[in-house]
Point group: C2
Chain length 212, copies 2
């Protein structure tokens, strides 16, 4: 199909598609003349992927570029792939390779989160920037007096662990499909869980009010 048809099929303007092509977010079509190229289903899928990561996942186009790099470079072992994917999509300063707080990459991570993870027995890389994300998010809750102590953190973690098991159980066996599923599953299921949590608050509150 021509660019105009790709635009129609994907619902993305020709100007935006040209921008994606220039930035390498969309692979070039098969040249059919000096000014025209032919696009196929792989282009439609790629455009859908970029839009989903951008509009629902809230990722910047620069981050999406990094994500696509991971998706299209197979042949790495599973844990490395998972960590690379998590860093590409990671939130917070520690996960952003463009910023630096001046700390060495092997500096010990957030002490409270680290101690909690060890006590819980979760096997994670002791220098993983995600530990800083947890430390910062936890500290922010403390700063405003939310009362999130170790006991409540463990109660949350019990249920999040089960959610993680649901996630991991649906990851396909082929490496490229697995990378795709990990990145998209992490980014795109976050908004699903956030919406469910808010709806659960309503349901629980209505139920409690009704029972009084």
């Amino acid at each position: 199909m021509r660019l105009a048809e790709l635009s129609e099929t994907s619902g993305v303007s020709v100007a935006t598609l040209k921008y994606y092509l220039r930035e390498g977010l969309l692979h070039p079509g098969q040249a059919v003349s000096r000014t025209q190229a032919d696009y196929d289903e792989t282009h439609v899928e790629r455009v859908r992927l970029v839009r989903a990561l951008s509009e629902v996942g809230g990722l910047s186009l620069a981050t999406i570029g990094r994500v696509l790099e991971v998706i299209t470079s197979p042949g790495q072992d599973w844990i490395t792939v998972l960590e690379t994917a998590q860093r590409a999509i990671g939130s917070g300063r520690a996960a952003d390779p463009d910023s630096s707080d001046g700390s060495a990459p092997d500096q010990p991570r957030g002490p409270r989160a680290s101690a909690w993870l060890v006590a819980r027995g979760w096997q994670v890389h002791p220098n993983d920037p995600l530990i800083d994300d947890l430390e910062r998010a936890w500290a922010a809750c403390d700063d405003v007096g939310l009362g999130l102590d170790e006991e409540r953190m463990n109660a949350y973690a019990d249920h999040v662990e089960r959610i993680g098991e649901i996630d991991v159980s649906t990851v396909p066996a082929d490496p490229e499909g697995a990378i795709r599923q990990v990145i998209l599953g992490t980014v795109l299921v976050d908004p699903v869980l956030a919406a469910l949590r808010r709806l659960a608050h309503q349901h629980i509150s209505v139920s409690r009010t009704a029972s009084h």
Copy 2:
């Protein structure tokens, strides 16, 4: 304390504090002269709140303004407070009062999410914009083929409902404290849960790899 001391205590620059004062995000201090005012602990707490919502919660200053309006206007019933808070901090187009997709406010919400909620028996307002958030997030997962069917949605919801019960159980009885807890708990615990979910993925993956 003077503005310079408030800046030192809160770690926020004088220029930013003046901006907060101009935008109404920070209440005025007690005037002690034509050019000086006195600030107290309530100002320190407010500045901490604004920073936490902005830096960890990722809210815009405009949204924070709406959030503070809710926090500082008590005397509404509990479900209204919850819904107002949820709308102020809501993600997605439907939750943003400044944007419009041209639909009437009482237009039926996302059909798949609505049907699923009814089947599950969750009591939520049938026109709540959160239903659109769920519909959109769910559709985005479908668009990229994540395989999130009704069964898996129910499995997620089982655990999110328990997380919601933990949240609601810690809400204090006084209305102002409750509003504060709902908004902050919703916004600030989201990043905690997101970090926990990614760490759980690592732990589960390492455990599975080790057991092979």
